[in-house]
């Protein structure tokens, strides 16, 4: 029907030729490679985390930490005071902080990956909706008016409630505009400003003690990690990660095909965005209510993961969890070593390393991420 058109792409002329050209194994091979990387990453994360357990005063070696873990696993009780000291130190001091760093970092990175994919924006983080300043405000309120100490229930509760409330407001308002990414981001910016100003106001009226406590909270640390925090995050991740993983193809569609095309691919875009933002917000708010504000893991973790394993969320989501967890574990380890016996809070180390890394990523990228 169309005359003299020689711009067609090359085309096989028979079914046999078609089959000869089709290499349906290529995609699966790539997937298998990614799966291997994922498993490898898990192994590395676990090994490195266990290795960091030996950092700290008290002359505890890696052998000590491993035998403690084994003893706890098998229910063996310590027989000498020395063993007791070692086991208690490892189990009550080292493991909770490593656990909080690992799980908190994983939670923040997964939340970051979700935000970046759902909002189709590589520069967003879990704090885009204003959760961090809102949580800081809640924590400040608790410190000022509820006499909240650093890891008291009031403090954790204040930060959690405030952070979630802010996210609910942002998401609720955005839902009136079909949850468009731009709307979410702009609302997040507005609420960030609001809560930052409110917190500054609180700092203005705070006395020195409270002020110091507020500032300390914003640094972000796992120094006060206690077991209930680790357990809480573990339970949340055990439920959230599979939930999120099942929707990874929906996230792919939203992130790479755009809202319209994703809908045409059968993805209920607004609903998926709402669900997953809810999960991301919960992960973020709970984590920072335990640790204070830890900034760059949620932003840089997903990018590093993407560089290594690619942008396909089926692999990116779990890999971000590993990268984020490892980053925070390492940040805490560095903070414990670099100025020992003083402890540099993990959130500060994280920001000091994360900011240049982020700058580097921005400058080095080609056309897009």
């Amino acid at each position: 029907m169309s005359a003299g058109l020689d711009v067609r792409p090359e085309e096989p002329t028979s079914v046999a030729e078609l089959e000869a050209q089709v290499d349906s194994g290529a995609g699966r091979r790539q997937d298998r490679a990614r799966l291997l990387l994922l498993v490898g990453g898990l192994a590395v994360t676990v090994v490195v985390t266990v290795l960091t357990l030996r950092i700290g005063a008290g002359g505890i070696s890696t052998g000590d930490t491993v035998s403690t873990l084994w003893a706890k696993l098998t229910g063996t009780l310590p027989r000498t005071p020395e063993e007791l000291r070692i086991q208690t130190t490892v189990w009550e001091l080292r493991v909770p902080r490593a656990g909080l760093a690992l799980l908190g970092g994983a939670a923040l990175a997964v939340a970051g990956t979700l935000f970046q994919g759902l909002l189709r924006n590589p520069l967003v983080s879990p704090f885009t909706l204003g959760i961090a300043p809102a949580a800081a405000f809640g924590a400040s309120m608790a410190i000022l008016f509820a006499g909240g100490g650093t890891s008291s229930a009031a403090l954790v509760g204040g930060a959690l409630v405030s952070g979630i409330l802010c996210a609910v407001v942002v998401v609720g308002l955005a839902a009136t505009k079909q949850m468009q990414p731009t709307t979410l981001i702009l609302l997040g910016i507005a609420l960030t400003q609001l809560f930052t100003a409110l917190t500054a106001g609180l700092q203005y009226i705070a006395n020195e003690e409270a002020l110091a406590a507020i500032v300390r909270w914003t640094w972000g640390t796992v120094n006060g990690a206690v077991w209930y925090q680790v357990v809480t995050l573990a339970v949340m991740l055990v439920i959230a990660l599979p939930f999120v993983q099942l929707r990874s193809s929906a996230v792919n569609a939203i992130a790479f095909a755009g809202d319209d095309a994703a809908r045409s691919l059968g993805v209920p875009v607004s609903r998926v965005r709402l669900e997953l933002i809810f999960v991301a917000v919960l992960l973020t708010a709970v984590t920072i209510s335990f640790t204070g504000i830890i900034g760059f893991v949620g932003l840089v973790g997903p990018h590093i993961a993407r560089l290594l394993i690619g942008a396909n969320h089926r692999y990116l989501l779990p890999f971000s969890a590993l990268v984020g967890g490892l980053l925070l574990v390492l940040a805490d380890a560095v903070g414990r070593v670099v100025l020992a016996p003083a402890l540099v809070p993990a959130g500060i180390v994280d920001a000091l390393i994360g900011a240049p890394v982020f700058l580097y990523l921005i400058l080095v990228r080609k056309k897009a991420f």
């Binding site: 711009v7 995609g27 319209d260 691919l265 080609k366 056309k367």
Partner: protein, 269 residues
């Protein structure tokens, strides 16, 4: 064996875009949707793909209402090719095409899904580019990726939303040629919205003119194209002729109102 659109009314809030559209698209045929900006071409296409909800009217495929299908099931019938991709991140070409299998695979892609992807890549000549990031491709290549993705969906209805607006001449022709071949060879009811009347005449089996949210005329280009129709739809005076068996449209340009004398000389010759 067709897509029947009856009395379709679509509104965004208070603004009604489509005022009762009637249209039929036959299986295996390429329908060109013509009309000025704002006439509702994109809205019509998005409504068929259920990206936008209709306020009234019916959509039927082979006698059954499309509205009865779940979103996912609908995605196995209707494929939508957007105008462009919003690319902040990028998958490689192969994974991009795999997105088209989303309504088909459950927890993870299976062998069958990968096979369809690879077939689509071959058919669209993308095999060599399969591992490249989509952001690195030219406009025409990226367009082919979008079409390959839609094909991988194994659709029975294929909708292309202004696929040629951002392409140069070569790729415009290539895309339309492809759309026609897909319709003819795979028996897919294909709709493409398009601005160029001549391209539409050359490649489409049928055309429909949308204006102000209504279909003003529909049918084979040779039968439907008329000077007063074009005047009503576009507000442009044209002359019609036949070239190589296809109807062609020549806009009549009034020199005093639109162009300067010197430019007119080049245009006229």
């Amino acid at each position: 064996m067709s897509l029947e659109i009856r009395d379709l009314e679509v509104a965004y809030g208070k603004r009604t875009i489509l005022h009762g559209v009637d249209l039929t698209v036959e299986r295996g045929r390429l329908l060109g949707l013509l009309g000025p900006n704002g006439s509702g071409k994109s809205t019509l296409i998005k409504t068929v793909a259920r990206i936008v909800r209709a306020r009234a009217g019916t959509l039927e495929w082979e006698g059954s209402p499309l509205g009865d299908l779940s979103r996912r099931d609908l995605a196995r019938v209707v494929a939508y090719v957007p105008q462009s991709i919003d690319q902040s991140f990028s998958l490689n070409v192969r994974e991009s095409v795999l997105l088209g299998r989303t309504p088909h695979f459950g927890a993870r892609p299976r062998a069958r899904d990968w096979e369809r992807v690879e077939e689509s890549l071959v058919q669209l000549g993308l095999s060599d580019l399969a591992d490249r990031a989509v952001t690195e491709l030219s406009g025409g290549q990226a367009q082919r990726v979008l079409i390959a993705r839609a094909l991988a969906q194994d659709p029975e209805i294929l909708l292309l939303d202004e696929p040629t607006s951002a392409l140069d001449l070569r790729y415009q022709l290539q895309t339309l040629h492809l759309a026609h071949r897909i319709a003819a060879e795979r028996g897919v009811a294909t709709v493409v919205s398009i601005h160029d009347l001549n391209h539409a005449a050359r490649f489409c089996d049928e055309v429909a003119f949308l204006s102000g949210g209504r279909v003003l005329a529909g049918g084979a280009p040779g039968e439907v194209y008329a000077t007063d129709l074009v005047r009503d739809v576009y507000g442009v005076e044209v002359d019609l002729s036949t070239y190589d068996g296809f109807t062609e449209v020549h806009p009549r340009i009034k020199p005093e109102r639109t162009v300067r004398r010197t430019e007119l000389v080049e245009v006229a010759s």
